[in-house]
Amino acid sequence: MLTLRFSLRLFALVLFAFTIATVASAQTAQRTFVSTAGSDANIASLCSAANPCRSFTAAQGVTTAGGEIIALTSGGYGPVEITKALQITAPTGVYVAITAQPGTAIGGTDAIRISAGSSDVVVLRGLTLNSLGVASGINVTSVGTLHVENCVVNGFTQNGINVNLTADGSEVFIKDTIVRNNGGGIFITTSTGTVRASINGCRSENNVNDGFLAYNRSRVTISNSVASGNGNSGFYALSDVSGTTTEMNADHCVASNNPFGFVAVGGKPPDSGGTATMRVARSTATNNTDTGFAAFGISFGSAVFESLGDNLVRGNNLNIYGVTVVTGQ
């Protein structure tokens, strides 16, 4: 009997040690799942397909760095701050929304905030982001490479997609995405070095300010995209800090019903001396209420606007201002 008791005690001890080990190992899974019928208690099952979690935030905690979270059912999954290499995917046919309001938004302002490491790859695919009075749909403060694919960003009070970095060398890819009814559409800048972006197949509509804004220290190439009905510029390259260069190259793009279609602005008092370049090929600027194609060098800043000479720029209040036609290859 004594032996049995001892054995039981030993067993209990071993069990205890095992439990500790399990907890301490902080297990993660390469692929995790969320569902509107799920529960965040299922982090104990690593948010498996059979036992999915309820929120992206909980699932991120048990997803291996570089892994992916898949949404299984249509519904809302709440704001999330992404802090590591991660993919969040909503398959076609599943409506996955993140609705942000002041009480639930990350920092009170964002539906998705990305504050990942300088070499982390983050992918957002198939998400619909909605605002009930908060600032940004996707607010990127640090990331190595970001891919935004097949997303809709709607109704935020500031920029729908706000890439506002402090480091050099990040790369941003935005494709097949609609950004509408926000304070601004897609905004890209860094305070150090250069941020490079490729935008393909996107639409920026009815935003209060600009459709696509390449701001200080960004190099943006944008193709097959539309900016329409925005409150300022459709496509905008702006350098307003001394010593910065900013560039936007646009191919097969359309700007209509904005005040300005395609614009490069270098310099802006009191900070002057920036250089902004806009190049446009095979594109259309129509029905813009101020100017279709324009380059403005303000104070000591400079602006370059190069057209391939094959653009349709008609029916604007003023069609072109400060544009140079370059020879294509």
Binding site: Q30, R31, F33, A49, A50, T64, G66, G67, E68, I70, L72, Q87, T89, P91, T92, G93, V94, V121, V123, R125, T145, H147, E149, E171, F173, K175, R196, S198, N200, R219, T221, S223, N224, E247, N249, D251, H252, T277, R279, A281, R282, E306, L308, G309, D310, V326, T327, G328, Q329
Partner: protein
């Protein structure tokens, strides 16, 4: 006892005859709640693509019913592997290659798959032999080597459409055509994007006849689009229409630095910006032609390097 033996014998017989009678079927199904047994019918789906393939008739199709991962697979027959809209069918390779296609003369379709790597996964889709391959609406990401690689010794037709290949440590898409006389890889790619790979975005070698329409290559450490020669007598030819190359080393490159074959690249209505070199021709047996004045090649470290020849719309170059 005798009775028992008889029963057992009868059971075994039954089982065997079932096995024999179980023919491959035209359409099989996989599900995350399935098991790899039986013949993968909708009411009793299987768990992995690899097992389902053993139950699928040549020319048949495998459908994913639920969202989840279905494991690496090797394809040796004519077949379509399909993830319908609304289903996320993942294939994750923890080591080795995710999808291996060794199907001489067969017709293979991959549609809607999300192919990625964890650990030491090598190549996303590797093709050593195929008759016709269609890759449609797939995502291939994160591999230690190439995203999609065809390394062919016989003629083949390859179609890649609406596919994204990103963040692979090697090249994004690499087509290495056959080198034998009279053999060629005929390639068509439409609306396909190769982004942030560690080497070349789109690479063509060997006997290739390729056409690219609305393809985009951006942020690759190597070249955006490259056509190069290999063995003497080979001809690699690629025509690019409405393509974009940005933030690569070279945007579009044709080179005859190795072998002695011929490499040709023609580019129309395309863009090369923010590359180290925009359009680059190198070597004595390579030809770079452009549809006169239709390409925007500006803002690169060097916009043009080598001999770039303009041709008109009515000229046969």
């Amino acid at each position: 006892m005798t009775k028992l033996r008889f029963l057992l014998a009868a059971l075994v017989l039954c089982f065997c005859s079932t096995l024999v009678a179980q023919a491959q079927i035209q359409r099989t199904f996989v599900s995350t709640t399935g098991t790899d047994a039986g013949n993968c019918v909708p009411s009793a789906p299987c768990r992995s693509f690899n097992y389902a393939l053993t139950q699928t008739a040549a020319g048949g199709e495998v459908l994913a019913l639920t969202t989840g991962g279905y494991g690496p697979m090797t394809i040796t027959q004519s077949v379509s592997i399909i993830s319908p809209d609304g289903i996320y069918a993942g294939i994750t390779a923890f080591s080795g290659d995710a999808v291996t296609i060794n199907a001489p003369g067969e017709v293979v379709v991959l549609r809607g798959l999300n192919i990625n790597r964890q650990g030491t996964g090598n190549i996303g889709i590797t093709v050593t032999a195929v008759g016709v391959l269609h890759v449609e609406r797939c995502v291939v990401s994160g591999f230690a080597s190439t995203g999609i690689r065809a390394l062919l010794t016989a003629s083949a037709d390859i179609f890649i459409k609406e596919t994204i290949v990103r963040n692979n440590a090697g090249s994004g898409i690499s087509i290495i055509g056959p080198t034998g006389s009279g053999t060629v890889a005929r390639v068509s790619m439409v609306n396909t994007r190769s982004e942030r790979n560690g080497s070349t975005g789109f690479s063509f070698l060997g006997n290739v006849e390729g056409t690219l329409d609305r393809c985009l290559s951006s942020g690759n450490t190597g070249i955006g689009f490259t056509v190069a020669t290999t063995a003497s007598g080979t001809v690699a030819e690629v025509n690019a229409e409405s393509c974009v190359a940005s933030n690569n080393s070279s945007g579009f490159l044709v080179t005859s630095s190795t072998g002695g074959g011929t490499a040709r690249l023609r580019v129309a209505r395309s863009v090369a910006t923010n590359n180290i070199t925009g359009f680059r021709q190198f070597g004595t047996t390579s030809v770079f032609r452009v549809l006169a004045g239709t390409n925007l090649v500006e803002g690169n470290g060097t916009d043009k390097d080598g001999t770039i020849t303009a041709v008109g719309t009515d000229t046969n170059p």
